[in-house]
Symmetry: C3
Subunit: 350 residues, 3 copies
């Protein structure tokens, strides 16, 4: 992408100061700029960088008053960060505007695809699938039979979606993610072996969901594992069978949620958290990284930490004492001696 | 799958009450049923649901005595849960009865395949491989040279199996699993770099093993990393080089086992557990989620928890005190003051 | 690979004792040998095995003096372990000497490849890519547009590399690894939803890096996520956007590093460690398994453990007390009673 300051200014409905013919073809942080880079200044504490930046064009707020000379061409806008993000989104949209069907690829019988489709080479789509409009499916993705994919969804390379699963519109699924693998359900037998409990359900992903790289969502034993609209899952997350993740809940990488647990909406879960099965987590809960949750959290909007979790502040108080446990232990030992000495002294006075 | 109550009844050798022509095409929990769903009632505490269920057919035990009117067609069997699982297994078997070779796919020279094979499009099989009977290999799987796969094994999409590995019969390997990647072995050099230690061994997976999505099993440095028969591994598990997992051991998601460690048989390992290298874990050990094990566990049949682990009950007692550490710390502080006061009082009396 | 004792001896410039025509075709530990296996004896504590080994050929040091009769053919070399590793590396090199382009595969327009290339079937290479000399790309790998791969790099099956990423020379990337997926960046909106922050940067992997199976490296929001030369990453690791990992740093499996954190050089990170975002870790730091790091570590060459970390020895002292917390709690309770008794006794004497 290559664009002039004049064109950028018009796109953003800004006002221009400097060289209208200045051309940029990439973006950079203001302190890491170069002559063909676009940057922005939003936070006043970075103001010093604008006087030394090598970026060709910088987005600034309409009321920004420079205190020194500036080399870069300026474009004044209402909100420089929002405007910058708008440019980035436009750039990403251009990169992802692939269209057409690359060969060889495989589409099973009775499957339908919408207009604007990109189908990378070596993509496999099973039978009876419904693929919406403007869907982008990158190379080597495998989609099983009877799967539905909503409009505008992007599925990156090497994703696997098992049969009968449903993915909503405007979703993004990153490489290596696995949607619909069997839930981990086995019945112990008298001889010590385990009999597989058939996993006949599916996974339903609603609209506007993003699924990170190599994240796994198991299909339900019966019914559905459900990821509600607006959920954002980072990389390498494990979601077990029959879990439900409420809308707009965000989960960081490495977290694992055991079977049949229900997370409410707008929850924030840190990285590497473990959540036991068959429990409920209230809306707006916040859970610190590496925590372990073994029982339901019923009161919403509270922050938790630890394994097993306690309330956030309580956990850090306990942690502070934990770090000094050897000293505490010694204090108790000393107290025992002192009391012994006192008792003797008291007896001697007797 | 679409089946009548009469046909189901015959298959299960049950006795029928209600409409023999009732048809079902799916399964559901009794409380989530609909007119074309099959459900079951096994646990008496769910009995109330059978009077209101919308499921078309319900499996019940032979001695079940309804206390109210029931709309659903009933099929009486010896064990409703076992019968229901039998139906589910039949359903899954029908879904997985794919057969034939889809094109394009790649089979290297001197490789042999058994009858009943399903080979999805874009599957790659290297040279000198031996693929057993009724093996189902889903699209985009890659199998390296000299690999053996036993009868009836199912390998889902995007699995990677490196050269020389052996997979037994009746195994299931889920999407994204990696079998036989190099063990993580490096020799530190005087200049601070690391020299790779060649990983020339393989992975051997015995019969009746299930491997979860995106789980990784590294090949041995020399010899074999071994997964014994009946082992069940959940998703996103890391098994390092030269590890041996004993038969019927079950490991939950996110667990990592370091090199050369041996797990005995019928062990149960919770999620996100870490197990150090070069240790042994006794048969029938149980390990709680998020535990860390840094030394061998020699006594079988005990339960452990914590990082590092202590015995289960001991860990929870310590955890209970941990949650109240700030109070304990304050008590000790108060005791110090009280003793000081006592000492002074004693001196004053002197 | 099949080789005679005479040929091996010449390759290693050793001296031979025994049957020069002895043939081996595999390697084994000295205690697990068989007639066609090559073994070595480096550590004197394993000497006993050389008198009973079934290995056909054993590498020993030039000054080794047997105390009993030995059946195996011996090759005396300066350093048996180094010589053995040399043989293994040669063996691995022979296995990986695949060359040529298997069909079908896909190479986008304007992409160039060097001599000695192996391109497995179903490999996808996008537009404008530069692939160096002697690069080995296994089946079903997907490489996005504008990617560069340096000489001699090996990329195993089912790896995904997103557009604009750069991989250095002499790297190894294991199956299922994802390079360049979007960073996990979202801006919370007033209505509780999250707006995606476009991730326009890339991932740069320098020379001599090894990336484990199913490990994920997110692209930078702007700029680059950087893996410096000589870094070794184990399986199932999460590296977030804009992270930098310094040269020769080694990270064990299951570890997750949050965004914009910088690790120095020659650091050793254990398995399942979590490192918070926007912090710095000093050179030569060592971090124990399952640790959690929430603040910068400024002093180099120290060892840390715990969640949150404290210095290694301090952590184990605290852990020792933790295991006895119930006893400590009881001691404090007893002390309270004893002081009460002393106070009463003192009052009575008053």
């Amino acid at each position: 992408m290559q664009i002039t300051a004049a064109a950028l200014c018009e796109m953003l409905q800004g006002s221009l100061e400097g060289n209208a013919d200045s051309v940029v073809d990439s973006v950079a942080k203001i302190e890491e700029g170069h002559s063909r880079a676009l940057s922005f200044l939003a936070n006043p504490k970075y103001e010093e960088h604008i006087y030394s930046t090598e970026s060709g064009i910088v987005l600034v707020s309409r009321d920004f008053k420079p205190s020194k000379a500036i080399n870069a061409t300026l474009i004044r806008v209402d909100d420089p960060y929002v405007a910058f993000t708008q440019i980035l989104s436009e750039y990403i949209a251009q990169i992802n505007n692939k269209e057409g069907i690359e060969e060889p690829s495989f589409i099973g019988e009775n499957s339908t695809v919408g207009e604007g489709l990109y189908l990378g080479a070596f993509v496999y789509i099973g039978k009876n699938c419904k693929i919406g409009k403007n869907v982008k499916i990158y190379p080597n993705v495998v989609i099983g039979d009877n799967v539905e994919i909503g409009d505008n969804t992007v599925i990156y390379a090497n994703v696997s979606i098992y049969l009968h699963c449903k993915v909503g519109a405007d979703c993004i699924i990153h490489s290596g993610a696995v949607i619909g693998s069997d839930g981990f359900g086995f019945a112990p037998q008298p001889d010590g072996t385990y009999a597989k409990i058939p996993q006949t359900g599916n996974v339903i992903i609603e609209d506007n969901v993003e699924i990170g790289a190599n994240t796994c969502l198991d299909r339900a034993t019966m019914g559905s594992t459900i990821i509600r609209k607006g959920v954002k899952l980072d990389n390498l997350i494990q979601i077990a069978h029959n879990v439900e993740v409420g809308e707009n809940t965000v989960i960081a990488g490495g977290t694992a949620i055991a079977g049949s647990t229900r997370l409410g909406k707008n929850i924030v879960v840190g990285g590497q958290v473990g959540i036991a099965g068959h429990i409920n987590i209230a809306d707006y809960t916040q859970i610190g990284a590496q925590s372990g949750i073994i029982g339901s959290i019923k009161e919403p909007k509270k922050a938790w930490m630890g394994s097993p979790v306690t309330e956030f502040k309580q956990h850090f108080k306990s942690q502070a004492v934990f770090r000094n446990l050897p000293e505490l232990d010694k204090k108790v030992h000393d107290l025992q001696k002192e009391i012994e000495a006192l008792r003797e002294a008291l007896n001697n006075k007797g």
